[in-house]
């Protein structure tokens, strides 16, 4: 009898557990709440709208400088506090995974690199802020591989759906080759590093800081291409995204969040990069020197530049160029208008501070 009761209890607990495991709880206290700094001046305090509701956002990031440079400063310099926003930072390894997590409602906003933008074009997420123009992706050849043409018949590691796949396809295309000409091995971003350093593959396509680590630690490694290689054809972007439904229902939250980001970008785009590296190193449990090296991974834009660009059509032009490149290499089908998946008006409004 006791065992029967125990069995029933276990069954009940399991069912409850499954529901508890699968349900999103946005109102829960922060599990990974990053401490907020005090608002610095009385003037800034007065700037904040008095009737704004405090909110906690679950923010997805990737463990690199490009993903964290703005958000870490937005926290550290108190810009998010000004907007009465607190954040739980959750680490992911790639953009598609972030979008998958957003689908469940467990993540509110997230950062993506170039590759995952095709999912936005396909309507799976909405871009509300441009972060920077990236140069962190690279196609790297192992010992004996010095050109893209050398990759014919070779084992090349990449992460499907991400910037890694994007730069690999573009590089092959430029050399008159396709994915069928190589032995493509789909791996996660971390396994690519191990595979390269152990000579498990002949070449790889990945992003910073993994690309920097491979180039530094693997003797005979050669950077075959990076984002700048294709500067004349396309542009590699990094953006902040939300689910279309979330963006529609919480436009004011996105404006507040973007405004904090833009202020942080103003703060760190050309100055304070050493301080930013310290913040990023602390968050990613990396050494400061390695993180500081990543400051060369992109063209860091200020918030004001992005907002002005959104107003004068420059930002729309970037996304249009990016979309056309995806269409050209068959990564996306259809040709939706940029304004369908990029909230330029949010960027414009957020830049008015």
């Amino acid at each position: 009898m006791r065992k029967k009761v125990l069995s029933l209890f276990m069954a009940a607990v399991m069912v409850v557990g499954m529901f508890a495991g699968c349900g999103a709880k946005k109102d829960e206290p922060a599990a990974n709440n990053t401490p907020q700094t005090e608002v610095k001046t009385e003037t800034e305090k007065q700037d904040a709208e008095p009737d704004v509701e405090p909110i906690t956002l679950n923010v997805a990031y990737m463990p690199n400088y490009g993903s964290l440079w703005a958000i870490e400063n937005a926290i550290a310099q108190g810009y998010l506090d000004e907007e009465k926003i607190s954040v739980n930072l959750v680490e992911f390894q790639d953009g598609p995974t972030i979008i998958a997590a957003m689908e469940s409602g467990s993540i509110d906003v997230g950062y993506i690199g170039q590759g995952a933008h095709k999912l936005c074009i396909n309507g799976q997420a909405t871009i509300f802020a441009l972060s920077h123009i990236s140069n962190g992706d690279a196609l790297i050849g192992g010992p004996g591989i010095t050109s893209v043409e050398d990759l014919a018949g070779k084992k090349v590691a990449y992460s499907s759906g991400s910037s890694s796949e994007d730069i690999l396809v573009k590089s092959l295309d430029k050399a008159g080759m396709t994915m069928d000409d190589i032995e493509a091995v789909d791996m996660d971003a971390s396994a690519i590093v191990t595979a390269m350093l152990s000579n498990g593959v002949d070449a790889c396509a990945t992003w910073s800081p993994n690309s920097l680590k491979i180039l530094e630690e693997l003797d005979g490694a050669t950077k075959l291409t990076d984002n700048m290689t294709f500067a004349d054809q396309t542009v590699s972007l990094a953006s902040w995204i939300a689910m279309p439904k979330y963006a529609e229902e919480n436009r004011d939250v996105l404006v507040r969040f973007t405004r904090a980001l833009f202020k942080a970008m103003d703060y760190a785009a050309t100055e304070h990069q050493e301080d930013t590296a310290k913040l990023v190193a602390a968050q990613t449990a990396n050494d400061e020197a390695t993180v500081y090296e990543q400051r060369g991974d992109a063209e860091w834009l200020t918030g004001k530049q992005v907002s002005a660009g959104a107003a004068d059509g420059t930002v729309e032009g970037y996304y249009e160029l990016q979309k056309q490149a995806f269409i050209a290499n068959g990564a996306v089908e259809g040709n939706p208008s940029v304004s369908d998946y990029v909230l330029l008006d949010v960027m414009i409004e957020a830049g008015q501070y």
Binding site: G21, A31, N88, Q93
Partner: protein, 498 residues
């Protein structure tokens, strides 16, 4: 935490298989291995993809170092995805096979092709989910991934439900308490393992090697990453998994141990039989005492005849005593001989009613005033040696009645003889509502020359004999007893389906 859990699963399942190499333990091993594959695959995937908070990361992997080692493990997404697919696909198969092997439903036992047929859907799924084939099928047609997802989840759910039905049905069919207890342990174990399995079975492994193009995941919110990343949720998930696993393996351990102890009991009994030498010494010593008593009587008779007028009444008394002594010695001799002689057992189909009738006839000669409550299932035959089985049954009935007499139950005392078919057995049950036995007595009652009764006519060979006869019928003898409530003896004979 789940890493330790999976290591525990592997060790326990291998141990169980080594202890008992039966069809069932093989399925259990398969079950545990497939569960381990699924959990390990998902854990590696989570370590690599992220999406968990720092607290959850520590909870899962204990340290950043361990997590980093798993994260940087060199494995392709194809390999990782197929590991998950293997575990996810094989678990329902092993569960259904195990449930079918326990099931006594006639259609399932008779038609072995059902068991073979169960392999077909998992085999098809494993072929379709082979990374190269899967990618080829879904490359240009994303709808195919949805069809495959629905196909696999549908049959897996059906398998799980079918297995649950078979197990519950079987549990409800069992009437013997000790069988029920044993089966409930198996059920708890399987339920615990299935509880862990169910946490991830709805998520399609196709997403691992086809993540960004996996429309089925997007549409159905069934991604491995689509779990709330709060610490509470993960603590709940892991705690439940750990509790279920510990409980499950405890049950498995108990189940295996049950069989193991059964075997060990035989070994012990063989040793006990070796100690029959000691018993034989006791026997010889007792016989010697009896003969010495006879010698004294003979001497007295001789003295009686030396008298001028022998007392005939006294003489008659001595002769009667001698006769009693002689009869007692003969009975004991016969009892011992019956136990040790290598008499062949001739097993032929006998109607259980005939066996019961003959046994009761003999029993009524010894206890004419006692009425035995009889319940017999109709048309049941057993493969048996009628004489020996009747003798064994008679012994049990005599023991039962003696237990009632000892408890001084008078009219309230009741002996029952119940025969019915149960699972693979024909069960003959002898019940009494006497004093019952304690655990110490239960351990000893089947030993030769053991008797709890302080009587000159009892030599402690009865239950040992019953047990030997039942064993020679390829059956087993079980006993359940409670102090103050009485005892139930079960003779389990293989069911005859001639």
């Amino acid at each position: 935490m789940l890493i330790i859990l999976t290591v525990g699963l592997v060790i326990a399942s291998i141990w169980i298989f080594c202890e008992k190499r039966t069809r069932e333990s093989m399925f259990l091993l398969g079950l545990c291995l497939s569960l381990m594959l699924e959990i390990c695959g998902v854990m590696i995937f989570i370590a690599k993809k992220g999406g968990i908070s720092t607290e959850v990361m520590y909870f899962f992997f204990f340290s950043n170092g361990i997590k980093a080692k798993i994260q940087y493990m060199l494995i392709t997404l194809n390999q990782l995805g197929y590991i998950v697919a293997l575990g996810r696909t094989l678990y329902p198969l092993f569960l259904v096979e195990l449930a079918m092997s326990y099931s006594m439903i006639h259609v399932i036992r008779k038609n072995t092709w059902i068991s073979k047929l169960a392999v077909v859907l998992p085999a098809i799924t494993l072929v379709l989910y082979f990374p190269k084939i899967y990618r080829t099928l879904t490359l240009k047609n994303y709808a195919v991934s949805g069809i495959l997802g629905i196909f696999s989840i549908s049959w897996m759910t059906l398998y799980l439900l079918f297995a649950a039905f078979l197990l519950i049905h079987e549990y409800r069919q069992i009437t013997m308490r000790f069988c029920r207890r044993q089966f409930s342990q198996i059920m708890v174990c399987l339920m615990a393992l299935s509880g862990i399995y169910v946490l991830h079975y709805q998520q399609d492994p196709g997403q691992v090697y086809h993540f960004s193009n996996y429309s089925f995941v997007w549409q159905n919110k069934s991604g491995y990453m689509q779990i709330d990343p709060s610490l509470f949720s993960y603590i709940m998930l892991v705690a439940i998994s750990v509790i279920c696993s510990v409980l499950g393996f405890y049950s498995l351990f108990r189940y295996t141990q049950g069989h193991f102890e059964d075997d060990k009991e035989n070994v012990v009994m063989e040793r006990k039989f070796d100690t029959a030498k000691v018993g034989a010494s006791v026997f010889v010593h007792s016989m010697k005492n009896q003969l010495l008593s006879s010698k004294v009587l003979y001497k007295r008779i001789g003295q009686l005849y030396e008298q001028p007028n022998p007392d005939t009444e006294k003489l008659k008394e001595y002769i009667d005593t001698l006769e009693n002594l002689n009869n007692t010695m003969l009975t004991r001799m016969e009892e011992l001989y019956r136990c040790v002689k290598s008499n062949a057992i001739y097993l032929v189909p006998n109607d259980i009613e005939e066996i019961v009738t003959d046994t009761l006839e003999r029993f009524s000669k010894k206890f004419p005033e006692v009425t035995v409550r009889v319940e017999i299932e109709k048309n049941v035959k057993v493969l048996s040696d009628k004489t020996h089985l009747c003798e064994a049954l008679y012994n049990l009935l005599v023991n039962a009645e003696e237990a009632i007499i000892e408890a001084d139950k008078k009219e309230a005392g009741q002996v029952a003889l119940i025969c019915h078919n149960e699972r693979l057995y024909t069960v003959i049950e002898v019940r009494d509502n006497g004093n019952g036995m304690n655990k110490h007595q239960l351990k000893q009652i089947f030993e030769p020359f053991y008797s709890s009764k302080n009587s000159n006519s009892n030599w402690g060979m009865g239950l040992y004999y019953v047990r030997e006869i039942v064993k020679s019928h390829l059956g087993s003898l079980r006993v359940e007893s409670k102090i103050g409530k009485g005892s139930h003896f079960f003779i389990l004979l293989p069911k005859y389906e001639g």
